[in-house]
Symmetry: C2
Subunit: 309 residues, 2 copies
């Protein structure tokens, strides 16, 4: 079933110990859409500027992603500049040029309104809420956010969290959102804010799924689930790994008839698979060229490195 994602389509300038790239295609919605496209149909809502060329459009088209919701505006696209050093677990943001994104007013094409799965990538929660309200028939809504929105736009964010099926954030964001240092208690508090389930991402250590009594109708509340991450000897560029995780996770869920605890667990493995692929090359290079067979082979590696027998 189709996933509609709203978020940024942008250009990234990135420096890591492995090199430097200038203005490569990036943005949360881009990474998410590419990762999810290996599992299901994906539709994108975003805004880009005049620097978004046919060659960039082709990246989406080649993966069969519906770009009718990508609006063109006069000016330049959103541009992020960042660098990674040391353990490469966190980016240092060197510049954020919002450009056309500053006045982004998401518009949902008529052809998108039947999307059953909605993903609210990391953008202003006011916009997340606006898109959400225009998709009343969405069967499932997942979302992401970040420190900036948590600290400065908490009230708008609270409204978005209230009816989210799954929130995907990292440890630090969960701690900030909940005011709790202990991860389990942080998860409990976050779930009390609305999300039925929480996927807490731990970077190179994998992710933990936390569940509430609302996670799976009729089923008992599962214990937290720990998914591993791929031990990578070369992390070329971690930019977009979290969005790629979300894409693999949600793409797999949307490809399944029903969300069960077993589907959720497998979805977390697929999230890890797509996140690890994303790190192997700069920008979206690796995600453009994966194959489903390769993805499923890595899924089996995830099983092998985490299962007793």
């Amino acid at each position: 079933m189709a996933i509609l994602v709203v978020g940024s389509v942008a250009f990234d300038s990135i420096e890591t110990p492995h090199g430097k790239v200038d203005h490569c295609l990036g943005g949360a919605a881009t990474h998410f859409a590419l990762a999810a496209s290996y599992f299901t149909d994906v539709r994108v809502i975003a805004v880009v500027g005049e620097d978004f060329l046919p060659e960039h459009e082709a990246v989406f088209a080649k993966r069969g992603i519906d770009t009718r919701g990508i609006e063109r505006a006069p000016g330049l696209s959103f541009h992020w500049t960042g660098a990674y050093a040391g353990t490469m677990n966190e980016a240092e943001t060197l510049g954020t040029d919002l450009n056309v994104f500053e006045k982004f007013e998401p518009k949902i094409p008529g052809a998108y309104t039947d999307s059953e799965y909605l993903f609210l990538a990391n953008i202003d929660p006011v916009l997340q809420a606006r898109v959400r309200s225009q998709m009343p028939r969405a069967r499932m809504v997942c979302g992401d956010t970040m420190n900036y929105w948590i600290s400065a736009h908490g009230e708008s964010l609270a409204k978005v969290l209230r009816d989210l099926d799954v929130l995907l954030i990292n440890d630090g964001e969960a701690r900030m959102l909940s005011g709790e240092q202990n991860a389990v208690r942080a998860a409990e508090r976050v779930l009390a804010m609305g999300p039925k389930s929480l996927v807490m991402k731990h970077g190179e250590y994998g992710a933990t799924g936390f569940f509430s009594e609302r996670s799976f109708a009729g089923a008992s509340v599962p214990k937290p689930f720990r998914a591993p991450a791929m031990p990578l000897s070369e992390v070329v560029d971690p930019t977009g790994a979290g969005d790629s995780f979300a894409g693999g996770f949600y793409g797999y869920i949307a490809s399944q008839p029903e969300l069960t605890p077993a589907v959720f667990r497998r979805a977390m493995f697929y999230g890890g698979v797509m996140g690890s692929l994303a790190c192997e090359r700069f920008g979206t290079e690796r995600l453009q060229k994966a194959t489903r067979a390769e993805i499923d082979a890595r899924f089996e590696v995830f099983r092998e490195i985490s299962h007793l027998d």
Copy 2:
């Protein structure tokens, strides 16, 4: 089969967000021995002072641990003072009074020389090497170390590493020892220094086992193995969690006829089980009162929270 552990038996004064304890029984060999005692026979080599009373001796005796190698010396026992705050992932050391430990000369009782499994807990690598050389018939030798020995006693440590079966250290120590930030490459470098296998501990995120072609005779080199940690809503006191992990890990291995990849993986789960139990109370309180049934039940929880089906 019997494990001989050499290391510290000490007193700890600890402050955490959950409270404060003064001079409770601790030390790496103590936590290790208690954790391992649920799986196999354990013998301890350490030195204590006049403050080590029959009530402390009883803690070992109740778990059937052989204390004939715990030497009594005039003066006070090793005393560590530390505190935890925030995420509680790292202790702040407030004081280290070596006392009788300063002149520790490990002596191996005759009754101990047939121990097939040797554990070199975190002490001066010169002493680790001395004990190692007195146990030429040991079938397997595992060890631990810490930042202090890595940075200031690298040469002595290198000798110990050279013929270790398994080295158990945390991420930061592996990075420091190898000079590599990437965990996989850090592991490769550490394995090149001698240890046949490496268990890299990630605190609340579990642990990763890394293997070399010397890990399992005749078998192909397994991929790294990721063991989860227990999601704990209350970490009362993480002191000794790493030593308890080592005790559970090595105790299980010593209880098995042969070290296979499957035994290694299960041992990592048992390590996580004992480490998580240790965190639930101050000092060794929780490790004194566990039962094997409870340990095996938690092992099954570890399986449940990490396995797809």
